[in-house]
Structure formats: C-alpha cells, structure tokens
Amino acid sequence: MERLGTLEVKNLSKKFRSRNDELTVLNDINLTVQPGEFISIIGSSGCGKTTFLRLVVGLEKGYEGEILLDGQRLNGPSLKRGVVFQDHRLLPWLSIEKNVGMGLKDAKSDESRKAIQEHLELVGLKGFEKHYPHQLSGGMSQRAAIARALVNRPGILLLDEPLGALDALTRMYMHQELERIWKQEKITMIMITHDVDEAIVLSDKIVVMSSRPGTIKKIIPVPLARPRDRASYDFVKIKEEVLEEFQLHTEHPFTYTI
C-alpha cells in the first residue's frame, strides 16, 4: 500500500458555542504538511493545539475552512489517520496483542497476526503479547499505543503530547525510539507538545501557536542533521528562537508551561 499523507489546512477556524457566548478557538490556520514530514505544534496551554489535532483526527466536528488529506476533505475519523493520546488509552480488558490489533478489520487472519507481530517488534514490545496494560510501565504502554495507531498503516500519525506523562529520562529514550519508528515507517507525523527540546529533537518544522484565539504565530524550520545534539550551538539557537516567540507574544508571562 502506498503511503501518501499530504495534509493541507486552509483558512481553518473553529468556534465553540455555549448558550450565550461564542468562543473562537482557532482562527485562520494555514498549514501544509508534506508526506514523511515530522511537524511539532507547540504553544502554551489553551492555545487550541489539541482542538486542532482533534479536528484533523475527525473527533471534533464543525469547522470553517478546509482540512484536506491527500486532496480529500475530512469527514469524521478514519483509519487513514492514526492517533496517540497523552494517556495511552489501552483497553484494560484486552491483552497488548489484542489492543494493538484493535484497528484491524479481522484481527485473527494470518495477515493481521503478522502485522501485529511486526508492529510490536517495531516498538520493542516483543514478548509482551499476552500481557495486560496494567502490567506495563508508562513508557511501554505508550509504545503499545503507538503500535496500535500504526498497525493499519495510516498515512499520517497524530500524536497528542504522547510523552507528556513520562519522566524525563524515559522521555529522552522515547525520543530516540520515536525517531527510529518515524524513519523506519516513513510516515507523516504531527505531534503536539509543550516541550521545546522535544520539538527540536524530533521535528522538521516547528509550528508555534499563540492563544485566544489560536493562530499560527510562526513556522520555524529545523534544518539540523539527525540524530540531533541537544548541546550543539545550532540547537540552542533554534531553542532561543522558539522561546522568543513566547516571550513576545504571551500576555501572561507566568503561565509558561515549558
């Protein structure tokens, strides 16, 4: 199966209506993601980045503008887009193997079995097929969730702060793993994060969003060779550039969540 995964977002706006109020969450978002690109979206909490992601997944309905995946307008969730949530959301009553196979039409066929096995290997969970989620550590659970999202070979993988709940060391280890998976699968990834370092380590481009209403402030390319060195001069420079965006455009400087 050929993987496409070009995402085009044109003039996207999203409003939430409560009884009396109307709240604009996203305003005039324009973004193009090429196949195989790794994009991070970074912004302070409440800037609408999660809403944006949910719109792309199709879990949120009703928007103005256009979201096109390989030229087709999005309409509800689909297997063409995988998603990994911050909480791993593995079903506690299913074994890891079955959790990973959740997205497959017929999880019992030889083909599916193979796909599950491959993806478990991909995320480094071989040998844990029969385990249950509660028997896994946080990092392992998140890896299982990634395998689950990838198993039907979606064109694009959306990650909603996938490493947010992990401790610093595990997180750094997971950065390597994620990069490896991304390279191996050659898949488009869009990740939401709070963590500037994480974004620079992994992304081709960093989308910086500002809040109320959420708009794209700046798109910062990261033209560094991989694997990236967190201590290098270029790395630090990009980091400063990203941080500067916040300094300048945040009304409440104390609400950083960096």
Binding site: L59, P77, L79, G82, R89, P92, W93, G103, Y132, H134
Partner: protein, 257 residues
Amino acid sequence: MKIQLLKNKLTGLIIPLVLYVAWDLLSRYELVPSTLMPPPKVLFETWWVMQSSGELLLNMKMSLLRVGAGFLVGASSGFLLGTAMGLWKPVEQYLNPVFNFFRQVPVVAWIPFLLLWLGIDEWFKIVFISCGAFIPMTLKTYDGIKNVPASYLEVVRVFEYGWFRLLRTVIVPSALPSIFTGLRLSLSEAWMLVIGAELVAAGEGIGNVMVIARRLFQTDVVLVGVIVIAITGFAMDRLLGLLETRFLGWHRTQNAQ
C-alpha cells in the same frame, strides 16, 4: 509473622466463642427459655433430622428453583432495559424517569396487588422475585454503560467500528464490573425476596418451613432455617464473586494498583 497472623485470626473467634458458650450455658440452665433460644446441641440435632429426612433438601430445592427463575427473568430483563437506556438516547429519555419513579416503591408494597393479580402460587413468587432482581440489575447495567470512559470511545471512533464490534470490544467489557455488581445485588435481593414471598404465601420452600415451624412452636427449626439461608446466601454471593474474579481479573488487579 505467621504466628501473628494466626493470632489475629484467633482473636476473631473469641467473641463468637464467648457467645456460643454463653448461649449454651444460658439455655442449658434455662436462664433464657429454651423455647426462645434452643441450645446449640438441639440445633445440631434438629439440623441433622431435617437433613437426613430430606425435608431440608427438598425445600431448599424449591426455594432455589424459585430464586433461579426469578433471578433469571429479573436480571435478564434488567440487563436489557439497562442496556437499552444506556445505549439509546430516546429510550433513556422516555423510560428512565418512569423507571426512577417505580424503583422508589419498595417491592414489598406491591404484595397485595401481586397477590390479587397473580394469586398465591408460583406466578406470584416468581414475578415478585423478578421485580426485586430487576431493579439493581437495570441500575447497574445502565450505570456501567453510561460510565464507559469517553476516552475509550474516542479511540474506537478512529478505528471506524461497527456498532456490534464497538459493543463487544469496548462497551460490554467496560461495563462488566458494574454489571457484575448488579448481578450480585440482584441475586442477594432475589434470595431475600424468596424468603419474603414464602413467608407471605406458602407452598414448599425454606421460608415456608420457617413459617410452619413458627406456628408449631418449633423455634429450633426456625433458627436452623435462619442459619441455612444465611449460609446459602453467602455461598451464592461467593460463587458470583469467584466468577467475577475469573472474568474480570484485569479489573481487580487494576483497581488494586
């Protein structure tokens, strides 16, 4: 460590033992009339007579059959209504208020009408037990389905599941702990109500044995009846508990963490 544990267990036996000895002495020396509190020895003898004559088994069988029928009807219809209300908004909107209204009325209050409508035979007893078993089952099934975490549902929406697969992989397993609670509540309610039904309108059954014994002034038989229904109720609950651990191992361990 082990000795301490044993000691702890033994402490628990002190009060029952003291009570037992007090009971034995009081009734043996007639400080408490043995007509009200027959001595333990008499109870064992009575139990043995009832057991060996087959009287106890026969009546237990009748009661258990009734509980079985009433529980089956009540719990399964409760499961259906709970599921329907949990899954379909219109059903919930129209039926939940009515259900909530009727569940406030204790089943016992319906006895005169149930007797009027159904007579004093099996129909009355089974309907009565079913009504009692129906309510906790409906509540717990409905609760369980309503409380399926939205986060799990979102995961599945991405996978484009049909409703049947959705039900099978997510909704039912997620609601299962609550449904099991419903089953246990429903069964203990059924067991209580079968005794109640047999006290009100007889036929055979362990409740009826107690009524007749009461009327023939055989307090020992009444007491044996109380003990037997306690043990049976306990055993039934444990049985469901075992089933629960078997099917819901993931839930137990998850909660224990």
